[in-house]
């Protein structure tokens, strides 16, 4: 009996994770871009404000055009570039939280942009990488709130709000990666054709 059950190597599977995952990250980034541009156009009250805030999203849009174009052409970028682009997302969102005119730090409504970005990243990368990314997002956001002195550290309501947001960012990362690992296991079993999987196939064929 030939040992013919492995249809892909671990390296192939890893590359496929990035290939399929890239599209999720890109769509998350598009949501950030659309939200940002809509808000910039909506809330700007003068030309100066518009020219100060729009470049954030134009940079992000250019990056995503490049990444999406590569993906559509069938030559997506490798793991390092995808990770770097995702870190740039975090930096840009943090810059918005700190520098956005009118509302800084904890009072800035743009913190919600962390959620889709962290979630999408967690669906693509392994646990350690995802954990590092989620911790980075948390540190950046907490740092932005501290830097702008919008968190008094008196265990009052503002601190409570910050803790709540940090927990939800961590939740996005945890749940995304938990689901990612469930799917890896299912795919590995389907690829391997192990006994339970074959039983499932048989059961399905009987339908």
């Amino acid at each position: 009996m030939p040992n013919a059950r492995e249809v892909r190597t671990a390296a192939q599977a890893s590359q496929e994770d990035v290939f399929f995952g890239q599209t999720v990250i890109m769509w998350a980034r598009w949501s950030v871009i659309v939200a940002g541009i809509a808000l910039v156009l909506w809330t700007s009250t003068n030309v100066g404000l518009l020219t100060q805030t729009m470049p954030f999203f134009l940079v992000l849009m250019a990056v995503n055009f490049f990444l999406h174009g590569r993906y559509v052409m069938g030559s997506p970028l490798n793991r390092t570039v995808v990770t770097a682009a995702s870190v740039v997302d975090l930096l840009l969102i943090t810059a918005i939280v700190i520098l956005w005119p009118g509302a800084h730090g904890l009072n800035n409504p743009f913190f919600v942009l962390y959620f889709p970005v962290v979630f999408a990243f967690a669906l693509v990368f392994t646990r350690k990488v995802e954990a590092a990314y989620t911790v980075l997002a948390i540190l950046l956001y907490a740092g932005a709130c501290v830097l702008t002195r919008t968190v008094p550290f008196d265990l009052g309501n503002d601190d409570k709000v910050l803790v709540m947001r940090v927990i939800v960012i961590a939740t996005m990362g945890f749940l995304g990666n938990y689901y990612f690992r469930i799917q890896r296991d299912r795919l590995a079993r389907a690829s391997r054709g192990d006994r339970s999987t074959l039983a499932e196939i048989r059961a399905g064929l009987a339908r």
């Binding site: 009996m1 030939p2 040992n3 013919a4 059950r5 492995e6 249809v7 892909r8 590359q15 496929e16 290939f19 399929f20 599209t23 999720v24 998350a28 949501s31 659309v34 809509a38 808000l39 909506w42 809330t43 069938g74 490798n78 570039v81 409504p109 919600v112 942009l113 959620f115 889709p116 979630f119 265990l155 009052g156 309501n157 803790v163 709540m164 927990i167 939800v168 939740t171 945890f174 749940l175 995304g176 938990y178 469930i182 799917q183 299912r186 795919l187 389907a190 690829s191 054709g193 006994r195 999987t197 074959l198 499932e200 196939i201 048989r202 059961a203 399905g204 064929l205 009987a206 339908r207």
Partner: protein
């Protein structure tokens, strides 16, 4: 699929006592119960065969079905535990007044009991019925909505728990159900915001709604991709089995499920 019967007892390695044969696919010894071992590929499915209630081939199909719901249920359960834990922690942190605290605790404890039941079912290997999962997710949304309303509507910071609820829903539910639940959340929240937010906060409302929708899209997109990948993997495996059955050479033992990235 080929029906070539290559796997008769003589084709297998049989133990010295003749009671066991080696199943090369499962990589284990199996008892010889009848004259012939069970057909390996089940190439002749009978129309009367009863479908398996869970984890059938449909879990490997290109669309999300009930089996995916069973797998995604663990994500939902953990999302709910996080919601419950965080809710309890924050309820006791600078509580506003007695009535608010009573409502919060009652809702959270009710959710905890329900989630405990679902978790126990999972641990016993009996994922709950689809309708129960759908109802539990509605309860999640209901509890978060109650907390948002009690804590001031638009100004309430607990709206972010909608994200945790939507994450579980987006990866576990079929696309239409995900869209329905997301639309429900967006609809409820926009009504609450319109009733409680100042007009100047329109952009913030828009931002919240858009990101909730984005999380739902990302989760469901990923779930669909994974379902497609499993379909490809199963197809390749079946083709491989067919080749082996037909006595094809073992030269093509590996095949990528998709083109590998160039970089």
């Amino acid at each position: 699929m080929s029906t070539t019967r290559w796997n008769q007892p003589k084709d297998h390695l049989v133990s010295p006592d003749g009671k066991w044969y080696w199943d090369g696919i499962a990589q284990e010894w199996k008892p010889v119960t009848n004259a012939a071992p069970p057909p390996r590929t089940a190439a002749v499915p009978t129309p009367t065969a009863k479908p398996q209630p869970v984890r059938g081939l449909s879990s490997f199909a290109g669309t999300i079905r009930s089996e995916d719901l069973a797998y995604g249920q663990t994500v939902l359960v953990w999302a709910r535990w996080i919601l419950i834990g965080t809710g309890l922690l924050l309820s006791f942190w600078t509580p506003q007044d007695l009535l608010t605290l009573q409502v919060q605790l009652a809702a959270i404890i009710a959710l905890a009991f329900g989630n405990f039941y679902l978790h126990v079912q999972l641990l016993r290997g009996r994922p709950a019925l689809d309708n129960v999962i759908y109802a539990a997710s509605l309860a999640d949304i209901g509890v978060v909505t109650a907390l948002v309303i009690v804590l001031g509507g638009f100004s309430s910071p607990v709206f972010i728990f909608y994200f945790a609820a939507i994450v579980g829903i987006s990866v576990a539910f079929p696309t239409l159900m995900t869209a329905g639940y997301t639309a429900l959340v967006l609809g409820i929240y926009v009504v609450i915001c319109l009733a409680t937010a100042p007009a100047a906060d329109g952009p913030a409302i828009f931002l919240r709604l858009l990101t909730i929708a984005a999380v739902a899209v990302c989760g469901n997109l990923f779930a669909r991709h994974e379902a497609q990948r499993r379909t490809d993997a199963v197809r390749i495996h079946q083709e491989l089995l067919d080749e082996i059955e037909q006595g094809a050479s073992s030269q093509h033992n590996t095949a990528p499920a998709m083109p590998a990235p160039q970089e």
